[in-house]
Structures are given as structure tokens and as C-alpha cells.
Symmetry: C2
Subunit: 469 residues, 2 copies
């Protein structure tokens, strides 16, 4: 893949740093947890703060759109139809803080210690998308005319699978029309080594509930004569993987597209080794499908994680019961070639086969997203690579991520545009876990990278926008 020359970062607006940091702390202070209904007010307040902030940055047409759940915030700076258009996407909602007791800092305190700004959402995604707003502020306040139209779309439902974004994009297709999107919600390899993500796994999230007896039963009186739904659930879950660690759903791997040998060789050469990946996971031993490195298992191969398990007595000590029901949350990550709808059908057929006649199993789908990829050779990706070289003084490596960003497939399907995944997160910054933090040097360099990226794009004629146009 392309070598990019090392470029010295241009001097940044150093004087603005304390102000930028204070603003980011304010943004991180909103407990905008989208999945928990009791935090809906904090999500709304965060959207209102962002709208006000976008106005103060100098953007036009700022608006907060109500959706059936959490609002979408929109803003734009339209210079000329002759210039190309960049759509900047970010999400201001965050993951829950569970387990809250495992945090050693307040999750919404915006505490800065050394190089780190701590807080839920500091890296995922508030700190990352904020780089683009600050780059825009620098550009707009410098008074130098942009040769790029910019649209900003900030979502409040990413962590729950963007249930209303598809409808929003379809309704505002014309308004959102752009040549490329940029989205900063992926990881660099390390603080020294930027990385451009050109592939994402898809997703299928669903909750499996198993219903047994109508009410709790005494486990002494009825144990051995009535099927326990916790046992039935465990036995169903155990049959979702085979003893070799492969997913055991019939037909599950049929559509998986094998990666070309050259791509596997590149990923092997540039990607994290098994030892590195285990260090990042703080795990001693790897696990999974034979024939693939740990990194390949997380980016080229599908996976199934049980993300939650619940049923029966949850307190201290013992309660002698057969509980009436049990449930598990399932999260599939889908490899190139897989379709979440097909996987869901395969899963439903398999569950029907696995469920014993004494209990009822119900599967409720929560999220479906297709896998995604954009070629590293795409001009916008090449522009991003050059921008990283400016911001970080080093060419990025190309990588696949095992995560899912469903909006990327929406942009592809509804707007017909590719998304540049210009991530500033770190593998060990505890996204989704306790003590999440943003590595602040990445924030400052991220702003420089975004500045360079917008300048690169502005220099591209509309004719050069995409490789194959």
C-alpha cells in the first residue's frame, strides 16, 4: 500500500487549547446514555448544547431534529456548488457505565490527569468527532475561504444501533447530499502509529428469552421433574459454538468471503501480533477459530459474543427456586460477504431446532448492520493518508476493524458515498469499559489531521472525487 512522505505538522492554534479542552470537558459531562430510558433528558440536553456550540463555531442552518427516540443535530457551511462536499458524522450518545463500581474516576466528571481526559464517551465518540468541529472553527475563524462545502450530522442513537437514522437520512437525502463522509470512531494502532480503517464487521444483536413455568417453583419440591429455563438457556447457548470454537449455526459460514492472500499477508505484516492483541485485552490466552491469527479472527472472521445473561435469583446467598424465565443478549459480528438478515433467519431456524418442548424461546432483534469496506486506493482515502502524515508526522497503516458502525452502510446505501474512517482512538482507551479516556495528544493531532484533510479535499476537483467515477 502507498507510502506517504513524512510531513512536519503545521503550527497549531496553541492559544486555543485550554478553551478547546474546557469545551470538550463540558461535552463529556453529559450522561447521554442512549440505551437507558432514564437518561433521555441528558441526551436531549447534550443535543441542545451541541446545536449552540455549532452556531458559535460559525456554522449555518443549525437544527435539532426530533426522532422517535433521540435527536439528530445538523449544521452546514455551504460555500459553492462548484466545490465538493464533505459530510462529517459523529455520535454524541454513549455506552452505559455498567459496572459503575468498577470506575475509579467519575464517569461524567471530565477529569484530566496527565495526557488523559477521563469519561464515558471521551474517546467513543465525543472526543473524536470534536476534532472536526475544532478544525472547522480554526478554518472559519482564520477567515481563509473554504474550497469545500461541509455538512455536520451528529447522532444520539449510535450505541443502540441507530434505529431512526435510516429514516432520517432517507427523508433528508437531498440535504445530506455529499461526496464523502468522514467519521472518527475507530482506533489508531498506537499513539505513535495512526491507522486508516478500510473495513468493518457487520452486526446482528438480539435478545433470546426462554420461558419455562408460569411462576417461580421451589427447587426442592419440583427439581428434577420440571425443566429449568436457566438450564434450557445454557444448553441452547452451548450449542451455538462447536467444540473447536466455530459458530455452529447451520450454513453460518457459507457466505463468508475469504480474504485475498495479499490482504492476509499485509494484515499479518502490519497488524497486531497475537501477543499484542492479548496485551491490549489484558488476557493471557487467546481463543477461537483455528487457522487464523487472533487479529484475523476479529476482523476477517465472524464472531458471536454473549453480552449479558440473566435469570433467577440475583442476590447474595441462596434462594431455592426454579425461575420462570431466563434471557441472554447475543452479539454477532459479521464477516465480509455475510448478510445480517440471512444470519438472523439461520439463527431462528437453529433455535427452533434446539429449543426443548417444555420451554418457549423468543428472539427479539435489536440491531442489524452489514459489513463494510472501502478500497485504500480510493482518492478520499489517499487524501486521509496524507492528512495523517501532516497531523501525526507518520503515514497511517491500513487496517480492518472488528467493530461495527452501521451508519457507514447507510451512507453507502442511501447517499451512495464512501466513508473515511479517520480514527483517533487507542486500543487500550477502555471504550465501552470502566475508566474510558481520550489520549489528549491524539485530540490535538486529530484537529491538525482534520484541518489537513479538509484542505486536501478542497484541492480535489469534483472530477477526481472517486477512483472509478
Amino acid at each position: 500500500m502507498n507510502a506517504v512522505e513524512q510531513v512536519r505538522p503545521e503550527p497549531e492554534a496553541a492559544a486555543a487549547r485550554p478553551r478547546f479542552l474546557r469545551q470538550l470537558q463540558q461535552l463529556v459531562a453529559f450522561a447521554s446514555i442512549s440505551t437507558e430510558p432514564q437518561h433521555a433528558g441528558a441526551v436531549r440536553a447534550c443535543a441542545a448544547w451541541l446545536a449552540q456550540h455549532l452556531r458559535s463555531v460559525g456554522l449555518d442552518g443549525v437544527r435539532v431534529y426530533v426522532t422517535p427516540r433521540h435527536p439528530v443535530v445538523y449544521a452546514e457551511k455551504l460555500v459553492s456548488p462548484a466545490h465538493p462536499t464533505l459530510l462529517i458524522y459523529g455520535h454524541y450518545d454513549v455506552q452505559p457505565v455498567d459496572p459503575a463500581a468498577a470506575w475509579t474516576v467519575p464517569p461524567f466528571g471530565g477529569l484530566v490527569r496527565g495526557d488523559r481526559l477521563y469519561g464515558r464517551g471521551a474517546s467513543d465518540d465525543k472526543g473524536q468527532f470534536f476534532t472536526h468541529l475544532k478544525a472547522l472553527e480554526i478554518l472559519l475563524q482564520a477567515g481563509s475561504p473554504l474550497s469545500l462545502n461541509v455538512k455536520v450530522l451528529l447522532e444520539g442513537e449510535e450505541e443502540i444501533g441507530s434505529p431512526n437514522l435510516g429514516a432520517f437520512i432517507r427523508r433528508h437525502r437531498r440535504q445530506l447530499r455529499a461526496d464523502w463522509a468522514v467519521l472518527s470512531d475507530t482506533n489508531m494502532r498506537s499513539a505513535q502509529q495512526p491507522a486508516l480503517t478500510y473495513g468493518l464487521r457487520g452486526s446482528l444483536s438480539a435478545e433470546l428469552a426462554v420461558q419455562g413455568p408460569k411462576a417461580e417453583l421451589h427447587s426442592g419440591i419440583f427439581g428434577g421433574a420440571v425443566l429449568n429455563p436457566l438450564q434450557a438457556l445454557s444448553e441452547i447457548l452451548a450449542q451455538l459454538h462447536d467444540p473447536a470454537g466455530r459458530i455452529a449455526i447451520p450454513g453460518f459460514y457459507d457466505a463468508v468471503r475469504p480474504a485475498p492472500a495479499a490482504e492476509r499477508a499485509y494484515l499479518r505484516r502490519t497488524g497486531p501480533s497475537d501477543a499484542q492483541l492479548l496485551r491490549e485485552a489484558q488476557a493471557e490466552q487467546g481463543w477461537g477459530e483455528a487457522g487464523y491469527s487472533l487479529y484475523e479472527r476479529t476482523v476477517l472472521r465472524p464472531s458471536l459474543s454473549i453480552t449479558g445473561l440473566s435469570g433467577g435469583y440475583q442476590g447474595v446467598g441462596i434462594q431455592a427456586i426454579i425461575p420462570p424465565q431466563a434471557s441472554a443478549k447475543l452479539s454477532f459480528r459479521l464477516a465480509p460477504g455475510q448478510d445480517p438478515l440471512v444470519v438472523e433467519q439461520q439463527l431462528r431456524r437453529y433455535l427452533a431446532q434446539l429449543t426443548p418442548p417444555q420451554v418457549q424461546a423468543t428472539l427479539t432483534t435489536q440491531l442489524r448492520a452489514r459489513p463494510y469496506a472501502v478500497a485504500p486506493q480510493h482518492p478520499a482515502m489517499q487524501a486521509a493518508a496524507r492528512a495523517y502524515a501532516v497531523g501525526f508526522g507518520r503515514a497511517p497503516v491500513w487496517q480492518r476493524s472488528g467493530g461495527t458502525i452501521s451508519v457507514v452502510t447507510l451512507f453507502e446505501e442511501e447517499l451512495g458515498i464512501p466513508t473515511v474512517l479517520m480514527g483517533f482512538g487507542l486500543p487500550a482507551d477502555h471504550k465501552h469499559g470502566p475508566d474510558e479516556f481520550l489520549h489528549l495528544p491524539n485530540f490535538w493531532r486529530g484537529i491538525q489531521t482534520s484541518l489537513a484533510f479538509m484542505r486536501e479535499l478542497g484541492q480535489m476537483g469534483v472530477g477526481q472525487l472517486a477512483e472509478n467515477e
Copy 2:
């Protein structure tokens, strides 16, 4: 087994009924949940109330003994060393109310509606042991001299496996010396059909924790490369039963003593049919070990119930994590011949074999109790049968129960005495479940039965106490 003549119940102290009911409502109002540390104060208050009540009934030597956890309440009425001695045991602690939302009445309101007194512990065990206190009150206040010594032992830790009762009994062996114990914490067949329980299953309760990665991991970034402890736990649990519903722990059934053909024939003839048992369980289909009726599976055969399962994200919606740990609560019920210590060793060996190298499994034992049986031919059991005929106008059937009452084996081992399991509960009274209730006619008839039982015992010379003495 012995036929007992039908006897007309003697006229009861009808005038005392409203007072007895009010007292029982007060007793049920204590939220004496022994397993939940936040209820320790309610357990203590209940013990103090009982001590005061025993004094008012006319008993001597009333004392509340502090233990490392919940108090023991003791009282006695010693008439003469020439008379035999009955030890009355009850437990004033209760199960948790989880799931609290499933209750349609206040769990500690003592609500009376029709024939039912509702409340956690109304049947298990407050309403049942209270029959003996009220029978004692009638006897003592009638002024007729008792020809029986009586000792009363009320425990506050039965629902957590009586962790301190063994030490208490050993320390007070002389004080507790008796010829028989009586314990009312089992079921009748129905409100019309009393039953005497001559066998109980043993118990082994333990918590299995599976530890995986040190902290929560993003299921997109690491899914497929790190073993998920929820998956590992499910796979371990699934291997505790074989596909035919038998417990798969090697050697588990080796010590189980098969029931004699005559006993199986009696239980088949007098015990609940599969259809009755399913009606009581509100279940449509049975489950379990082939070759045994549902009733036999619950009383002659061992069982394993998963009573609680927990791990990962427990909230609404989705959280994309691989959680660091998962746990399951296991409740074994042991059949005649089995030893909980041996089963525990077999389980530990099997778990060591089942646990994949990427996770650590820890088993914490919470309760061990041996199976128990006393022959229906025992004179005290025959006396109890005659007493039921007085109280309920009908001879009891002999039955085994699938439950566990660990104090019974303590009385056998430490005091060398048998226990008469004189139950007044009903199969459908929701012990351990929401809306637990006491069937009040059983309370009134239970008092009559206890009265008749104490008179029967008083008429027995010390030489006739036990069949084989």
C-alpha cells in the same frame, strides 16, 4: 402402611381465634429475610418479638441467643424428668421476595382474604410453627398438668442453610436433650388430605463463578479472539446434564440407594400423579430422568437446579461487551444414600475437567445437608398419624418430600433423636414464590393436631419412645 381410625376433632378454643390470627399477622409482618444483609435488623426484631411472645404463652427460660449471624430463640416447660421430652423446632426467617414486582399483595402486609393469610413466610415457616405455640398456650392456660416436657427452638437461618445451628446445638446438647423433635415445614397432599413426611432429599448449594478477561472488552474489537466467560459458563452448565436429563457428573449416581419395590408401589398408589404434579407446577410438560414418575424424580432421585444466572450487561437494550465474569447458583437435591461432601468432590473434579484454560472457575459451597428418613412404624410417627386423624378427621398418607431440612440431620447426628415432620403447608401455597399464603383452615386444624400429638406423646412411657429401644 398403617390405617388410622377416623376421629372427630375435639372442640377448639373458638373464642381465641381472632387473637391468634392477629398475633400471626404480627409475626408475618417482620421482613425477616435471612439471606439479605439489609434485613438483619428485621430478623433481630422478629426474634425479640418471639421471645416476648413465648413468655406470654407461659413458657420458662426464654432466651435469645446471639450467633455469628442471626439469633436463636429458646424456651421450655419442664414438668418432670419422669416424663418424655418433645423438642419443637421452627424457623422464623423467610425467603427473599424476588421478584418483588410479581407480588399482587404486600409481602409483609399480613393480608387476610377469604381462607388465606398472605405474606412471605406465612406458610414457610411462621404459620406452621406457630400452631405448636398456640397448642402449648391452650394446654398451659387450661391448667391441666402436662405429662410431657417441652422445649422450643426457633431458628433465624434456615433459608440460608442453618450455618450456625450445628455449633449452637453442639454447645447446648444437654439443654436441648429430648426424645423426639417435631417440625412443621412440609406439605400436606391437599387441604383435605394430611400427609406425614418420612423422607427428605439432601442438599448441596454452591455458586460457580467463571472469570475471564480482567476488565470488560469491546465485543467488536475482541469478539472471536478472547473466550467470553458467559459462553464458557453456559458450556460448563450444559455439560452438567446429559441429553437424557440425567446429571452427567462422573460417579454421581453411584451411591444412590434404589427404593424397595414396595415403597415405590406405595408412593405410586398414594402419591401425586404426573398430571397432579404438573398442575401444581402450572407446567404443561414434565421433564427429567427416564424410568421414574415425576413424583419419584422429585423424592427418590437427585436433581440439579440452576437457581440463578448472572453476567454481563443487565440493562435495557444493548452493550457491546465481553464481560470479565459470570456466575451461576447451583442447587443439588440428593437422593437416599448420597453424601453432599462426596458429591461436592465429584463436582469439583468434573468442573476442573470442563473448564477451558482461558478462564478460571471457582466453586463456593453455601450449604450441605444429608438426605433424611425415619420409618413410618416409629412410635412417634404413629402418634403423629393418630393426631392428624384428630385434627383433620382423616388419616395421613405417608410421603417423601423433595425438599431439604438440614436441621433434621443435625438432630439425628447431634442429639440422636428422630424428627416428626408434621407439615401443614399446601403444594400450591407459593412457598419461595410471589403471593405466598397460609391456608387458614390448616392453621386451626394444625393447632388441634399439635394438641392431640402432645397428648399422645404424654401418654407414652419413656420405655415406649422408640421402636427399637
